[in-house]
C-alpha cells in the first residue's frame, strides 16, 4: 500500500504530530487561563470567539507582532540560539509516542532511552537562556532550573527503568501493548514518583522555582520579547502537552480505551492529566529551591529506588502471580510506604534546625 512507503509515512506522521503539538499548545493556553479562572472565582478569557476559544491564537499573534528587543551586552549568538535549543527537543519527544495501534512516527526499540536523552537537551537550552541575557535575575533562574532538572532526572529515570523491567521492552509501543491493565494500577508508587518529578521537569507549580514571578520576576525569560519570548512560551506549554501525553501513554494505558482503541482515549487521558496539573497549580504555593531539592533527594529518590527493587523482585521471583494479587499488594505497599516515609520526612523542616 502507498502509506506503507517509508517517506509517505514520515511526511504524514510528521505533519500530524506538528499539528497536534501546536493545536494543543494553543488550546492548553486557553484551557489554563479559563480553568484557573474558574478556580479563582473569576471568568477567565471569554471575549475572543465562542467561550474565548481563540484567545490562544490572539495571544500568539500579539506576541509575534511585538518588537524583538536584544539588550545591550548580551551573548548574541546564545541569545538567539537558546530559545530554539529549548524548543526543538520538546517537539522531538512526540516522535516515539504511539497514537493508535501501529501509528507513530518511528517505533524505536530504545524509545525510553530516546525520551530520557532528548528531554534533557531542553533543560540546557533553558539554562542558556538565563545565562545569555546578561541579567542577574535571569542567571539565578537559569541556575536554579538547571540544578532542579538534573536532580529530578534521577528519580524519573529510575521509575522509567522499573517500567522497562515490568513490561520487558524499551519500545514505547511495547510498553503500551503490555498494559493489559493501566500501569497506574500495577505500579501506583511509580506513578506518584514519575508525576511529581515530571512536574519539576516542566517547571509547574509547586516547582516553578526558575521563573517564580514573585522573587526573580520571570527568571530565565526576563529579557526575552517578541518571537523569542513566544518560543519560550511554546516551550512551557509544549512541555506540558508532551508530559501529559507521556503520562497518559506510560501509565494510563495510552491509546487503549475501555470501549475503543485509538487516538481518542489517549487525548481524553491527556486532557485529564493536564487538568490535574492545573488543579495543583491553582491550589499549592511554591516550594523554595532548596526545599524542592531536598524533596527530590530525600523523598523521591528513596521511593523510586524502592519501587525499582519491588518491581525487580516481582518480575524475577513471582512472574506468574495472579493480576489481582499484584494490584492489591502494590496499592497497599504504596499507601504504606508513602505514609511511613512522609512521617519521617517533612519537606524542608530539617533545614530550619541547622
Amino acid at each position: 500500500m502507498w502509506y506503507e512507503n517509508f517517506w509517505w509515512h514520515l511526511v504524514i506522521a510528521a505533519v500530524i504530530l506538528i499539528a497536534y503539538f501546536f493545536f494543543f499548545i494553543v488550546m492548553f493556553i486557553w484551557t489554563e487561563r479559563r480553568v484557573i479562572g474558574f478556580f479563582q472565582i473569576r471568568r477567565g478569557p471569554n471575549r475572543i470567539g465562542p467561550l474565548g476559544l481563540f484567545q490562544g491564537i490572539a495571544d500568539v499573534i500579539k506576541v509575534m507582532l511585538k518588537e524583538d528587543i536584544v539588550p545591550n551586552k548580551t551573548d548574541k549568538i546564545l541569545f538567539w540560539l537558546s530559545p530554539l535549543m529549548a524548543f526543538v527537543p520538546v517537539m522531538m519527544i512526540l516522535a516515539v509516542i504511539p497514537f493508535s495501534k501501529g501509528f507513530q512516527l518511528v517505533d524505536l526499540n530504545v524509545g525510553i532511552i530516546y525520551i530520557a536523552a532528548v528531554s534533557s537537551i531542553s533543560s540546557v537550552g533553558v539554562f542558556l537562556c538565563g545565562y545569555a541575557c546578561n541579567n542577574k535575575y535571569g542567571l539565578i533562574g537559569g541556575m536554579r532550573g538547571l540544578a532542579q532538572f538534573i536532580s529530578y532526572e534521577i528519580p524519573m529515570l529510575l521509575v522509567l527503568i522499573s517500567l522497562v523491567i515490568s513490561s520487558g521492552t524499551m519500545s514505547v509501543n511495547g510498553i503500551v501493548a503490555a498494559q493489559s491493565l493501566p500501569n497506574i494500577i500495577f505500579m501506583p508508587l511509580a506513578f506518584v514518583c514519575y508525576f511529581i518529578s515530571s512536574l519539576a521537569e516542566i517547571n509547574r507549580t509547586p516547582f516553578d522555582v526558575m521563573e517564580c514571578d514573585s522573587e526573580i520576576v520571570a527568571g530565565f525569560n526576563i529579557e526575552y520579547s517578541g518571537m523569542k519570548f513566544a518560543m519560550l512560551y511554546l516551550v512551557e506549554y509544549g512541555e506540558a502537552v508532551v508530559m501529559s501525553t507521556l503520562v497518559a501513554t506510560l501509565f494510563l494505558g495510552g491509546y487503549k480505551g475501555i470501549f475503543i482503541d485509538g487516538p481518542i482515549p489517549l487525548l481524553i487521558k491527556m486532557v485529564i492529566v493536564f487538568l490535574f496539573i492545573l488543579w495543583i497549580r491553582a491550589t499549592l504555593p511554591r516550594l523554595t529551591v532548596e526545599k524542592s531539592m531536598s524533596l527530590c533527594w530525600k523523598f523521591l529518590l528513596p521511593l523510586a529506588l524502592f519501587n525499582l527493587l519491588f518491581t525487580a523482585v516481582r518480575i524475577t521471583f513471582f512472574p506468574d502471580l495472579a493480576q489481582w494479587i499484584v494490584v492489591l499488594v502494590s496499592i497497599v505497599m504504596t499507601v504504606l510506604i508513602i505514609y511511613l516515609w512522609s512521617g519521617l520526612y517533612k519537606p524542608g523542616r530539617e533545614l530550619q534546625h541547622e
Binding site: 478556580f39 509547586p206 497549580r281 499549592l284 504555593p285 524542608g348
Partner: protein, 368 residues
C-alpha cells in the same frame, strides 16, 4: 584552574512584583543567601506632612487618607483625635461607635489584603488572593454605601463622622458577619493543613523579642515576637474599653505567626463590630457642629491608635491659626521596616521575599 565565588548585588525594586509598591532594596547575595540588605526609601514621597501645614485643618483630612491607602479610615482617626483634643471638641457617643465599626471593618479588609498578597509572594498564583477579595469586595461595597468611596474613604470629621449609616447598612453588615466565620474556616483549612505552606513559613524570618522591642516595632510584627501589647486594650482610646476582645500573641516571631495573628485579629475585629452594633445607641447625633473655619488654640499633642500595621501616631502642633504649625505621623510600617536587616540577612532569597511581605507595608505610609 581554580574556582572562586564572589558576592553580587541584586537590585530588587522599585518595580518588582513583591515589593508592594515602589520600594527598593539592594540585596547582596552569596549564591542564594542574603548577606546584606540596604533599603532605599522615598520613591513615593509626596510631602504630605508639609502639604498639611499649608492647608486648613479640615483640608488636612483628605491628606491623611492618602497616607496608607489600604486603611484610610484608620489614618483619619489619630489626626482627627488630635485636633479634637486641641480644639476641645466633644464627640457624640453614637459617632464613636460608628468610628469603631468603620475602623474595624477597615482592619478586616486590610488584613485580607495582607494575607492574600502574602500568599501571592509565596507563589500560590492569586488563588487565595482572589478568594480573599471576594469578601473584601463585600466590605468595600458596605463602606462605599456609607462613605461614597471605594478606596480612600474620607469619613471622619472633627466631632464625629461625615454622614450617618444608611438604613440598609446595618442588616447587610450583620449578614456579612454571619457568613464571615464560614469563610475564615475555609482559609484556615487551606493554609494550616498545607505542608508546603507550613514548611515555607515556620521558622522563617524570625524576629526575637528583644529586637522587636528595641527596634520599637508594633502591630502584628511586635505581637508575633511574643510581646502582648495592643494600643486598643492597653492604652484605650475612643470607646475601646467597652469591648471585650482577645489580643492574639505569637510565640516564635516567624512568618507563620504573623499570618496567624492577622487571621485571628480579623475574627476579633468581627466580634468587636458585633458588640458595637449591639451597643450602639439608635438615636443621637453623628456629628457636633464645628465652625467652618476652625481656629485651634495654641498647643501640641500626640495621639496614637492601633492601625492594622501597628501604632499609628499623629503629633500635632498648633500656633493658634487655622492651619497646623506641624503635623507629623508615626507610620507603623516605616518603623517596622527598620527591622528589615535583622529579618532578612542570612536567609535565602525566596525566604527573604516572603519575610519582607509579612511585614505588610504600604508605601504611601512609609514615604509619606
Amino acid at each position: 584552574m581554580s574556582f572562586k565565588t564572589e558576592e553580587y548585588v541584586l537590585n530588587v525594586g522599585p518595580q518588582h512584583p513583591s515589593t508592594h509598591g515602589v520600594f527598593r532594596m539592594r540585596i547582596t547575595l552569596d549564591g542564594e543567601i542574603v548577606k546584606d540588605v540596604e533599603p532605599i526609601f522615598g520613591y513615593l514621597h509626596r510631602g504630605v506632612e508639609k502639604l498639611m501645614e499649608m492647608r486648613t485643618y479640615k483640608q488636612g483630612i483628605p491628606m491623611t487618607d492618602r497616607l496608607d491607602y489600604v486603611s484610610a479610615i484608620n489614618n483619619n482617626w489619630p489626626y482627627v483625635m488630635a485636633v479634637e483634643e486641641l480644639a476641645g471638641i466633644e464627640v457624640p457617643e453614637k459617632a464613636e461607635y460608628m468610628r469603631v465599626i468603620m475602623a474595624e471593618m477597615q482592619r478586616i479588609s486590610s488584613h485580607y489584603l495582607a494575607v492574600g498578597s502574602q500568599m501571592n509572594d509565596m507563589g500560590s498564583f492569586y488563588t487565595v488572593f482572589m478568594y480573599m477579595f471576594r469578601e473584601r469586595e463585600k466590605l468595600t461595597d458596605l463602606m462605599e454605601m456609607v462613605t461614597g468611596q471605594r478606596m480612600m474613604y474620607n469619613y471622619m470629621r472633627f466631632g464625629g463622622v461625615s454622614q450617618d449609616f444608611p438604613k440598609e447598612f446595618v442588616p447587610l453588615l450583620r449578614k456579612f458577619l454571619r457568613i464571615f466565620p464560614k469563610y475564615m474556616k475555609e482559609y484556615e483549612d487551606l493554609l494550616y493543613d498545607n505542608e508546603i505552606y507550613l514548611s515555607r513559613t515556620k521558622g522563617v524570618g524570625i524576629l526575637t523579642r528583644e529586637d522587636a522591642i528595641n527596634i520599637s516595632t508594633s502591630g502584628p510584627v511586635l505581637r508575633s515576637a511574643g510581646v502582648d501589647f495592643d494600643v486598643r486594650r492597653d492604652l484605650p482610646y475612643s470607646i475601646y474599653n467597652k469591648f471585650k476582645f482577645d489580643v492574639p500573641v505569637g510565640k516564635n516571631g516567624d512568618v507563620y505567626d504573623r499570618v496567624w495573628i492577622r487571621m485571628e485579629e480579623m475574627k476579633q475585629s468581627a466580634s468587636i463590630i458585633e458588640q458595637a452594633l449591639d451597643m450602639m445607641p439608635a438615636e443621637g447625633k453623628y456629628q457636633t457642629k464645628v465652625p467652618v473655619v476652625l481656629h485651634v488654640p495654641e498647643g501640641k499633642t500626640y495621639k496614637r491608635i492601633e492601625s492594622p500595621r501597628g501604632i499609628l501616631g499623629c503629633y500635632l502642633e498648633s500656633d493658634g491659626s487655622d492651619k497646623p504649625y506641624r503635623c507629623h505621623f508615626r507610620a507603623p510600617a516605616f518603623i517596622n521596616l527598620t527591622a528589615l536587616k535583622k529579618l532578612m540577612v542570612g536567609q535565602t532569597l525566596s525566604d527573604a521575599i516572603i519575610t519582607f511581605g509579612s511585614v505588610d507595608l504600604s508605601m504611601g505610609e512609609v514615604d509619606r
